[in-house]
Symmetry: C2
Subunit: 324 residues, 2 copies
């Protein structure tokens, strides 16, 4: 089993939380890991194998030029490890744009796919999560790209969630075919006449349906998708903070709230972005898992598990043959 290449230098909590998560993936799940980063930083902190990379692309660096110029960066080296058959997949919590650019430039694009897209899982309590894509790779899209996102998303839902016939929907502002932006109206026609690799197009859904069982795969452009994703994260954060503050105002409520501790922790876990261990960049010739910049060790551990599972599932081969 090839190791998962983990960018040890990327993310707000690098390298310590990244190393901790990697260690757990090795110890608890038996997944081999190759840490990528500065040996002088990493070797004092861990006994895991290290692939040396002398540079670090900062979180706010311009993605394209950084990847072109910083050839010995941890992100570029991680993507090369996948390309060269030294790793089965890559994981990074670093600069999202640079992660995409590294994967795209080093692994290459799958033939006939116009643009890679980021597929994110949204929690939907009591049922399988909803796949949202594109959640941020392409701020401007056309109907043909969205169609490919839908088709890639359908394959992803099959491999990642075990849904045999994914229900694919467009994100719009009304269920009727005539509702939405010009892009969505165009796409509705394109989607209606297309096939989705055993899945099927079920029409438009709205923002309020994202965290429900309304659809398995929700397709949108990367601008709208990223706004929706961050709006969900922000709403949850505000709501959980308000609950914590409000329910611990008095001694009585604090005591009652403490009784509910374990249940509340489970709720937090269902809705916490760390639980799903990151998004997948679909459309490149290799498995690339993009974790939240704020990832802690649990998020990294989960991301490594997902990376290994996706590699073993053969999703990249499957995408390549779907788009042949």
């Amino acid at each position: 089993m090839l190791p998962v290449a983990v960018d040890a230098m990327g993310g707000d909590n690098a390298p310590n939380e990244i190393i901790d998560g990697a260690q757990k993936a090795v110890e608890d799940h038996g997944i081999p890991v190759l840490l990528v980063g500065r040996p002088e930083v990493l070797e004092g902190l861990t006994d895991l194998p290290v692939m040396p990379a002398s540079e670090v692309i900062e979180m706010d660096a311009e993605p394209g030029s950084s990847v072109r110029q910083m050839k010995d960066s941890s992100l570029v080296r991680a993507a090369e490890a996948v390309r060269d058959g030294k790793a089965s997949a890559m994981v990074s919590a670093g600069n999202t744009g640079a992660t995409m650019a590294s994967a795209l430039l080093r692994m290459g694009r799958i033939k006939n796919i116009a643009r890679p897209a980021i597929a994110t899982l949204l929690p939907s309590p009591g049922t399988t999560p909803t796949v949202l894509l594109d959640s941020g790779a392409n701020a401007e899209c056309n109907a043909e790209w969205l169609l490919q996102f839908g088709q890639m998303g359908s394959v992803f839902a099959q491999h990642r969630l075990g849904i045999k016939k994914p229900r694919v929907a467009l994100l719009s502002i009304g269920e009727e075919p005539g509702k939405g932006s010009p892009l969505i109206k165009d796409s509705f026609k394109t989607f209606s006449e297309a096939e989705f690799n055993e899945g099927s197009f079920i029409g438009n859904i709205e923002g309020r349906d994202l965290l429900t069982d309304a659809a398995d795969v929700v397709v949108t452009d990367g601008f709208t998708g990223n706004v929706a994703l961050k709006t969900i994260e922000g709403t949850m954060k505000t709501l959980f903070s308000a609950i914590l503050e409000k329910l611990t105002l008095t001694k009585e409520s604090t005591a009652a709230f403490e009784t509910l501790g374990p249940e509340f922790d489970e709720l937090l876990q269902i809705f916490h972005p760390d639980t799903y261990g990151g998004a997948m960049l679909l459309g490149v010739k290799g498995v690339c898992i993009i974790s939240h910049g704020s990832s802690g060790s649990l998020a990294i551990e989960n991301a490594i598990k997902v990376a290994a599972e996706m590699s073993e599932s053969g999703i990249v081969d499957n995408l390549q043959s779907s788009f042949k």
Copy 2:
């Protein structure tokens, strides 16, 4: 004091909840109300004055053609009452598109404003709500329209929330000026050089900042705005349902949860869309308050209060002189 014209036939809970809300506005707040709708339906249910209108535009009817054809509909008559000086403002929980079309066609557009926009309040616990616009009137926009939305939103934040110098932001997918869709990048330049009626442009914010104190007025196109708004509503609904279900699984947790009842109800109220009593259509020559289709009597009562306040505040005159 002129009465507020209330569309008694519009919304999922019409006419009963509409009438109840109107009754409370009259009794508890001393606001005169004129119910608009079918006399044969309304007169058995209430003693409030009724302006007769024989037709009802259904929730899923096509807005433009309905308003043109159904001249004796409750929505068209309510808008005419404002135009003709028989009412100070209109309120409807009916078909949103038809409400906008009625207001636009009967009251008319404010001179020099290209397109009216819907301004919605988003809860931001511990501080003033955030104004989001456009939250659904215009699925496709250009930078000049967005600029006018920002300027109207600034005036609205002053009148509605008492914020003297509103901080105006664009909704994007990164804080840097170069981040976002082509529309947002264009708008960033336009906004940077513009004035906002005592307010100021503070740059881009992201979806996760909507329910925080990051900005007072957040500007976006009606497609993105509506997706964001419904995503917030859906996330809250999913989260509150999950909390209710999870925290009442055992006898112990149910007992603890019941202790927290009053605090939890307050939380629900902070985040419930009914609390703010509806959105305002900015850019027409009259006050038009659009309530959620699912509005209950509290939402209608609050909407009537807001309608009366906005009318008394002189916001329409102020918008007219701002854009002269």
